[in-house]
Symmetry: C2
Amino acid sequence: MRDKKKVKKGVILLSGGADSVTTFYWAKNKGYDLTAIIFDYNQRHKKEIKCAKNIAELSKIKYFLVKGDLSWTKSSLTDKSIKVPSNGKIIKGEIPITYVSGRNIVFLSYAFSLAESIGAKYVFIGAHIQDYSGYPDCRPEFLDKFQEMADLGLKNKGIKLVAPLISKSKKDIVKMGIDLGVPFEATWSCYEGKRNPCRICDSCRFRIQAFNELGFKDPLLK
Amino acid sequence: MRDKKKVKKGVILLSGGADSVTTFYWAKNKGYDLTAIIFDYNQRHKKEIKCAKNIAELSKIKYFLVKGDLSWTKSSLTDKSIKVPSNGKIIKGEIPITYVSGRNIVFLSYAFSLAESIGAKYVFIGAHIQDYSGYPDCRPEFLDKFQEMADLGLKNKGIKLVAPLISKSKKDIVKMGIDLGVPFEATWSCYEGKRNPCRICDSCRFRIQAFNELGFKDPLLK
């Protein structure tokens, strides 16, 4: 009989994008018993939510869909009247128009609440270095401080926040995902929610570039 | 013409209870231009949400109702099958069954996101000493750490978290509310959501005791 006590429970923040799905496969590969948390924050399109659900279902894990409208923020990811960036450049020190105020703060708050409630000792997030040049809530110092805050604000200290991709580039992440068997054809990175990736938004550009540098073809590109 | 720049904008966490409404009146009295944020976390009853809306409408301020289900937590405030406590005692170091995992973390996360989005520089919360003997997310050290975390995780540093009741007892708070003209008849503190307060749950007990000690009658008690 399998010893249940030995299985480490964790909560995974799942967006349906390449980063969170690679994080999921990394944690799954390490043997964690995972529950996913998927957010509907009234984002630009629902396609990523569909992908996230699909990924959870593919692996037969339980998931919670949390609806928490963040559309009061003026972001191109919540307001369709604002164009998504497509210049393929990350400007150091500049926060892009895709910034959604407090997004990871809200997501992690729910994830820690869920983790405590189901007795999980780990929360996994796909935040990484390429994002934190722009997003303040992807920086390691933010994640460290969130950990300290959660330790004080929850009943149970020591639910550990784990960001395995934090120091990785997009290329490293796609490489890791390929090695772990991530079904990239079931993920979604494009800022637009059309039938096929637009190939010109920044999110598409960085993903395609990573696949190209590795000598692979993104399976989403038909 | 009124100089708009001089009006300090703030976000108030409004639950409809005596504490948050007193905090609201305190901030209003100081001249803040307030926007309320009201939470539907799938709590035991909706009466407090109705009261919170009513309080916001009475003062003609804008409010946002945020739906964010926290019923995965095993709490008597989200699960009707669990009895609410009514022994009238706060046991030092013991977290009551009314604890909702991560509640203030989630609430404050939204409040800071909203504050940043509307250009408010202050977030007001009614957390206080009597609660923090039991709830970890009402302690001053938690609030301080949340402030540090928000300063790192948001685009704009320095949205200030203000908890004017933090060191006050329930008696002090009710006294403050009476002085500020809080319409206590429009607030709701009882853990049960019936027509009239139950008078026996801990929340009723502490409120009634505070009014009694001040020589006033709680207008909710007919």
